[in-house]
């Protein structure tokens, strides 16, 4: 009976629901405990960390006591606030939550289903590797061609240090890199009289599409790259050695430097026009929230995955049972019961219509297939 129930459950679940359950199962196998939270938080939490949010627009309301609240536009901030730090340990949480914010450049607010995980505490290279691998596996579960584009913010920081770029120049450089706008970068280097050799390095970085295990070798010639960044990438490359991977270095991938540091990544699935996953190491957020430890995690923008596959039913039902006032309702009841027991879906109607495989006419009391 249990197996039968499982089987029928898997038949009626949409591909999106199956994926959601699959992800929950995947994360739990790696020790990530589900984290449930309220739909709203104090507005103050988001006001203080506005830059961390995908959009700074938040739906607010006053609680009965007069306190300004917000419908949750983000999950990570709530989890970070709840995590407790114990030296040498880490807390691992997974979540499936709805957040409320405008999507992309849209003006309207949307309910966005998001799932993901956060690993918070005393972290090492293995934790980064595990989270990045789980991000990859989350993408692979869509059963569509996918890419996990990754970078390390230390590379960008070292390059900007080598250029002695000020805050505003760093912001512009990040924007141009994110847009892969080599012509604008050339223009900027020329107007600032920055060294040609560094422009060449930057363009080389934009052209590198290597997996994590090959990356350290590809960065070997960049003399301005700090040893600690090399060491982190080396540790990741050792863990990735010999593993099949969908992770590809992409220097255009970035994150807000006030929150993120180190590894950053974004996931793309063929057929979906924007990134469906985003994550990385965000120790700086913890610092800003005056919490000890480190953190790494990611979010899957689940609502976007609706664009994949087609769960639309070809038919409204297998069988349309037509009946009228002359049809004994007990006959109708028994016929519906018999058909559903055979595993067919049934629609009992007084008039024809809709898309069905077969119509059975019980009108006038007759049974006429």
């Amino acid at each position: 009976m249990k197996n039968e129930q499982m089987e029928s459950a898997s038949m009626i679940l949409t591909s999106r629901e199956r994926l959601l359950y699959g992800l929950r199962h995947l994360y739990s196998r790696f020790g990530y405990r589900p984290f449930r939270m309220s739909k709203f938080e104090k507005y103050e939490l988001y006001a203080r960390n506005r830059d961390f949010l995908v959009s700074d627009r938040v739906i607010t309301f006053y609680e009965a006591g007069g306190e300004l609240m917000a419908l949750k536009p983000d999950v990570t901030l709530s989890i970070v606030r709840s995590a407790s730090y114990r030296p040498g340990r880490k807390e691992k949480f997974s979540y499936q939550e709805t957040v409320y914010r405008p999507a992309g450049n849209a003006r309207q607010f949307r309910e966005i289903m998001q799932c993901g995980l956060e690993c918070i505490g005393d972290l090492d290279s293995y934790d980064e590797y595990e989270v990045m691998r789980l991000a990859e596996r989350s993408l692979l579960m869509t059963e569509m061609p996918c890419v996990l584009s990754f970078s390390h913010l230390g590379i960008m920081n070292c390059l900007m240090d080598a250029l002695h770029a000020d805050e505003s120049e760093r912001l512009t450089l990040r924007k141009l890199l994110a847009a892969r706008s080599e012509h604008e970068l050339s223009g900027m280097f020329s107007s600032k009289a920055w060294p040609e050799a560094l422009l060449k390095d930057l363009k080389t970085l934009l052209s590198i599409a290597a997996g994590p295990s090959e990356l350290p070798a590809r960065l070997a010639d960049f003399g301005w790259l700090a040893e600690d960044v090399r060491d982190e990438l080396k540790a990741l490359s050792i863990l990735y050695h010999g593993q099949d991977t969908a992770a590809v270095f992409d220097f255009s991938v970035s994150g807000d430097l006030h929150y993120y540091n180190g590894l950053v990544f974004q996931g793309f699935v063929r057929g979906i026009s924007e990134k469906v996953l985003s994550g990385g190491r965000y120790d700086r957020l913890l610092e800003r929230m005056e919490r000890p430890g480190s953190a790494v995690g990611f979010a899957v923008y689940f609502s976007l995955l609706e664009q994949l596959g087609n769960d639309a039913e070809e038919y409204d039902a297998d069988v349309l049972l037509l009946y009228d006032s002359a049809t004994p309702l007990t006959v109708l009841r028994d016929r519906v019961q018999a058909l559903t027991d055979e595993g067919r879906s049934v629609l009992a109607q007084r008039t024809p219509g809709g898309r069905v495989r077969i119509t059975e006419d019980l009108r006038g009391g007759a049974v006429d297939a």
Binding site: R180, E182, S273
Partner: protein
């Protein structure tokens, strides 16, 4: 197959000529009919004509892999796209214009009429100048003449329309030209095709300059 959104009009025709010279012709597109989609499987391209201001929407939402958009549209809408190439055509500038005898009174909020409120807002924010932005959809030159605004921020090509309405360029905001833009997801799954096209088109641009 690469899907490319071309802006309807002279700019689109000019860029198509560059794409054709770069090895991406589509004879069907050159025939005078009213179709909007044209395909050349041998060259691996499908072109479609769209309203210039809609190009970035088609590319951002993945209906097109690539598109040709003016820098003005990119700055105003900040779409999440890759800007791969400056095509150095459709060259003009975004400028502040007003009456030739205009004198900015810093004691007052400057009234600025524009089709590009984000570009104008960012420009004046960078100068810490208090402004009131008035969004118009056309005939911007009328605004200072009728006293609706003090100045305008608009695209200026030759300056003739401004001159004919007694206005002059007071300041340049930024240069504008046509750009080749790409959808980030398409770039990841059609990397080689897109890089090849951008490379060949880049050679055409260098050749034309």
């Amino acid at each position: 197959m690469l899907d490319i959104a071309l802006p309807k009009g002279r700019l689109g025709e000019r860029v198509y000529a560059m794409l054709k010279a770069a090895g991406y012709p589509c004879p069907a597109l050159e025939s005078p009919d009213r179709r909007l989609i044209f395909e050349n499987p041998e060259a691996g391209v499908r072109y479609f004509w769209v309203k210039p201001s809609d190009v970035t929407i088609y590319v951002e939402r993945g209906a097109a892999d690539l598109g040709i958009a003016g820098k003005d549209i990119l700055l105003e809408n900040s779409p999440e796209l890759y800007e791969l190439l400056d095509l150095k055509t459709g060259i003009c500038r975004m400028a502040v214009a007003g009456p030739a005898d205009f004198r900015d009174n810093r004691e007052k909020t400057l009234r600025v009429a524009t089709k590009f409120p984000k570009i104008a807002g960012d420009f004046y924010a960078g100068k810490s100048r208090a402004v009131e932005l008035i969004k118009l959809n056309g005939s911007i030159e009328l605004a200072p003449i009728l006293g609706l605004s003090d100045v305008i921020v608009d695209i200026v090509e030759t300056g003739r329309t401004l001159a004919e309405n007694g206005l002059t360029v007071l300041e340049t905001v930024c240069p504008v030209s046509a750009r080749l833009v790409a959808n980030p997801t398409s770039y990841r799954f059609k990397t080689e095709e897109i890089r090849r096209l951008a490379g060949r088109l880049g050679e055409e641009v260098d050749h034309a300059v």
